[in-house]
């Protein structure tokens, strides 16, 4: 693995950290004050800083450092994370993301922006600190400063010396309070407990301890209580931990810096010793589980937890443990004599419990694996071929009429079920919540709101809605354009809003939800809505419609999707870079989706995108139309019926309606619309598929016959051919032939009078 690969991994991780950072900050912005959230945010910045340092990305390190310092103030409750603070932090997160991107792709970041933020961050870090004496240079423990009467101080944070969730047992220091006398050199008590990860990441406890010994005079005790029996021993595990007393004038920070790179992979506590007398220091080591031999010797019944732990270990382990701990047994004895046994037992039990809870939490979060998307795609393609193959097999069994042998049929059925299950699981690999895309949008809203001097609130809903990764990836671009448009054009300036009697703060609502096998994404703003007269004039001026065209409101709204259309009078920085809504529409269409706009003047606009959940498979009804085999997506079909002559009514020259339970529904001959035949077929000879389109209207699609239902693998037509109006995609049937998948909404649209042919670019192939 060369340096570039390692760097690539670092940047990938950065992306995750940045996402974590932003989501954490947003949570805090919504009033979440959970220390876990704050820690997660801090950790994200810290990890980026650490990695950037290793790669010598100085700009990134410098900025991350300032950011981290300020976050640390929040973490230690020195700084109240109010809206103003969070605003700065969100901006800093943006700049951090920019710096990361610049470090990866080259390029630079607007320095004035980062410099300004650095100042703001520093001001926050210093400005709100309590009187410096409270956290004087003497390395005092971190609990909330006594001087601060703020409500946060009422419940001192459980001194999170790291972010492991490791919480030292609170101990009363009352007896020693105020008795602290300066000794020659301040002494520190350190508990250093490596986790498994420490060693697997190539860190070595020996080296850390050696580094530590350079700081000053050090006494060190190795605790081997956690050492399991030989048969349970994982040779790569971490079982020992160390209690260290060190006398140094370098300060607590120097000690911590020794462990800087191992910080996330060990449980570390550092605190000043209250008294340098060896006997008493031990009282401040509540985390030392009482050695099992003591608990057995002294009062087995009183301390059950350690005793149980001790009996679990077999004789060998016990012997080893005893030997290992021999050095500190005497010390322990002294400690045990002083510390009440019940308390020590409780401490040990609590420590065990917290460790267990930690493990559970880790398990609950679920383990993940990072896989190259190409591999997953390959797997999906293979499963697609498997599905086709299975269909082929079923078909040839039917054709060869082996119905007599039930074992073959049973086997086939089982195969079908398995194939289906494999397919579902494989598809689930790529399913992801839309959250990351939505989160990116919040940044865009922030930036554009800043640039335009508007005040805008982004509300997201249903961000855990899952959809295929291929869809998510392609969603970001059109969504970005739409958000830009909504903020730049849609929402008015605060003055205008005030004049119109609206809240000066504009609202943009981004919603995702599943609807009948598709994902529906809605972008609603409460802005001015579309100025229909202006759109109309513009369309006439650009020769897009004739001046006397009589268009419905909906049709006018949808004019903005035409190429070369921009309602903005002048090109602003944000939009109007030659990328218009036509591009948005095209990219949505390329995804097999549709986009619609509804607008109410003065009240805002709603863009609705309907996208397939996956680009790979679909449940379809296989039908025959004019000798062709077509697939109709099952999700679109409401019901199927055999029309009777009495139910068919002519309507005008060439329209026919079918009466279904006393309502009339237009009949659409699919063969005619797709130009497979010149005249309309006789409806009585066919089958009607009642479909519901995006617009809500019902249509009866006439086909000649239904062959059956099947799950089909979607194959792209565009890859080698071109987009065909009325056709969503292609698939391959059991006999190896290509069948076309009907685009129900386009067909319904065509039946409303919109020409299918007009959109077709015949030149695309020849």
């Amino acid at each position: 693995m060369d340096m570039n690969e390692i760097k690539e991994i670092f940047f990938q991780e950065c992306e995750e950290q940045l996402a974590e950072l932003e989501s954490g900050l947003l949570k805090m912005n919504d009033g979440d004050r959970d220390p876990e959230t704050v820690n997660a945010v801090f950790r994200a910045v810290h990890s980026i800083k650490g990695g950037a340092g290793a790669f010598g990305l100085d700009d990134l390190v410098a900025f991350a450092h300032v950011f981290e310092t300020t976050l640390d103030c929040v973490r230690s409750n020195k700084l109240e994370p109010n809206q103003d603070v969070l605003k700065v932090m969100l901006k800093s997160a943006d700049v951090l993301a920019d710096l990361t991107n610049a470090a990866r792709d080259g390029g630079s970041v607007d320095e004035s922006r980062s410099r300004g933020l650095v100042k703001e961050l520093e001001a926050l870090a210093h400005g709100e600190l309590p009187s410096p004496s409270a956290v004087s240079e003497a390395p005092a423990p971190k609990p909330a400063p006594k001087a601060a009467p703020a409500p946060v101080a009422a419940a001192p944070a459980p001194k999170p010396t790291d972010d492991s969730g490791f919480q030292p047992i609170p101990f009363s220091f009352d007896d020693f309070g105020g008795e602290e006398k300066p000794v020659d050199l301040p002494a520190y008590e350190i508990t250093f407990k490596p986790r498994f990860e420490l060693y697997s990441k190539g860190n070595d406890a020996t080296l850390l301890l050696r580094d530590l010994s350079r700081l000053g005079e050090m006494s060190i005790y190795c605790n081997a209580d956690a050492l399991p029996g030989l048969e349970e021993l994982d040779p790569e595990g971490a079982y020992f931990f160390w209690n260290i007393t060190i006398k140094t004038d370098k300060g607590e920070d120097a000690i911590r810096s020794v462990f800087e790179f191992a910080e996330w992979d060990c449980d570390l506590t550092v605190k000043p010793a209250e008294d340098s007398k060896p006997g008493e220091t031990n009282e401040e080591l509540p985390m030392i589980p009482v050695p099992f031999d003591l608990s057995i010797l002294d009062e087995g019944g009183a301390s059950e937890a350690p005793a149980a732990a001790g009996t679990k270990a077999d004789d060998t382990a016990a012997a080893v443990t005893a030997a290992e701990t021999a050095t500190n047994v005497t010390q322990m004895a002294a400690a045990a004599a002083r510390v009440e046994k019940k308390e020590s037992a409780a401490a040990a039990a609590a420590a065990a419990a917290s460790a267990a809870a930690q493990n559970n939490a880790a398990a609950g979060a679920g383990q993940t694996i990072r896989v190259d998307l190409d591999r997953v795609d390959r797997l999906i393609n293979l499963v697609g071929e498997l599905v086709i193959n299975q269909a082929m097999l079923s078909q040839s069994v039917i054709e060869n009429d082996t119905t007599g042998t039930s074992s073959i049929n049973m086997g086939l059925e089982e195969l079908q079920q398995l194939t289906r299950e494999i397919q579902d699981s494989v598809m689930a690999i790529r399913a992801q919540p839309v959250k990351p895309v939505f989160q990116r949008m919040s940044r865009i809203v922030r930036e554009i709101a800043d640039m335009t001097g508007k005040s805008i609130r982004l509300i997201t809903e249903g961000e855990n809605t899952e959809v295929d990764k291929t869809v998510i990836d392609k969603l970001a671009e059109p969504l970005t354009h739409m958000i830009r448009n909504a903020v730049d054009h849609g929402i008015e300036t605060p003055e205008k809003r005030a004049a119109a009697g609206k809240n000066t703060e504009g609202t943009v609502r981004l919603t995702a939800k599943h609807r009948s096998g598709r994902i529906l994404i809605e972008l609603a703003d409460d802005g001015a809505g579309i100025n229909r007269e202006k759109v109309r004039q513009k369309a006439i001026a650009n020769d897009l419609i004739s001046p006397d065209a009589n268009l419905s409101d909906e049709e006018i709204d949808n004019l903005i999707f035409l190429p070369g259309f921009s309602t903005a009078d002048k090109i602003s920085d944000i939009s109007g870079r030659g990328v218009g809504m036509d591009v948005v529409k095209r990219s949505i269409q390329a995804l097999g989706g549709r986009i619609n706009i509804t607008s109410r003047p003065g009240q805002g606009s709603v863009f609705t995108m309907s996208l397939p959940l996956t680009l790979a498979v679909l449940d379809g009804m296989v039908v025959t139309v004019a000798g062709q085999t077509l697939v109709v997506p099952l999700t679109a079909i409401v019901e199927t019926l055999q029309p009777e002559a009495a139910a068919i009514h002519s309507f005008g020259a060439n329209h026919r309606l079918i009466s279904i339970r006393n309502s009339f529904c237009p009949l659409v001959d699919v063969g005619r619309i797709l130009n497979f035949r010149a005249t309309q077929a006789n409806p009585v000879e066919g089958v009607a598929l009642l479909v519901e389109s995006e617009g809500g209207g019902q249509r009866a699609l006439m086909v000649d016959a239904i062959q059956g239902q099947r799950q089909v693998v979607i194959k792209s037509l565009e890859a080698n051919y071109t987009h065909v109006p009325g056709i969503a995609a292609a698939t391959i049937l059991g006999d190896g032939r290509v069948a076309l998948i009907l685009d129900v909404d386009a067909v319904v649209g065509a039946s409303r009078g919109q020409s299918l042919k007009a959109e077709m670019s015949l030149a695309a192939v020849g």
Partner: protein, 155 residues
């Protein structure tokens, strides 16, 4: 019968010659992916007349062009003896329906003569030049011209 072009690749300036009616044409061998027998195609709605339809090429949807009709000649009624030349044109893969593949030619740029100036679609649009080999006249087809790049302007 189908065999892949890979086995035929000798490198250098090579062309694949094929027959449509009584005329011979050729294309650059580098563009040819494989040559395969005719299989029934699925018709596409709203397609131009020379667009026969699409077939399944190992899981990919492959459009089939009647090259005869595309070059402005009589449309072909495909039979089992017809051949599909699978060719890569820019980023797309298409199938060209021809009567038979006749030859693999090794030529140099000097062997290519300019197309005589006659007013025909064939000459104007698709022919890059004419080769004279063993008293045969073979027209070199510019594949890119058959499928103009419309991606940038396609609506």
């Amino acid at each position: 019968m189908s065999y892949t072009a890979k086995n035929l690749t000798l490198g250098g300036n090579e062309l694949i010659a094929f027959r449509i009616g009584d005329q011979e044409f050729c294309v650059n061998i580098m563009a040819v992916r494989e040559i395969r027998g005719w299989t029934p195609a699925t018709a596409m709605p709203h397609s131009p007349s020379y667009m026969i339809g699409v077939i399944n090429l190992r899981g990919a949807v492959l459009p089939i062009i009647d090259l005869s009709a595309r070059l402005g000649m009589k449309p072909v009624d495909p039979t089992a003896r017809h051949v599909i030349i699978v060719a890569q044109v820019r980023r797309k893969v298409v199938g060209l329906l021809v009567e038979a593949v006749s030859d693999i030619l090794t030529v140099t740029d000097d062997d290519i003569q300019p197309t005589p100036e006659i007013s025909s679609d064939l000459q104007r649009q698709f022919a890059r030049g004419i080769l004279s080999i063993e008293k045969r006249m073979i027209c070199l087809i510019e594949l890119e011209a058959l499928f103009p790049d419309t991606e940038s302007e396609a609506a």
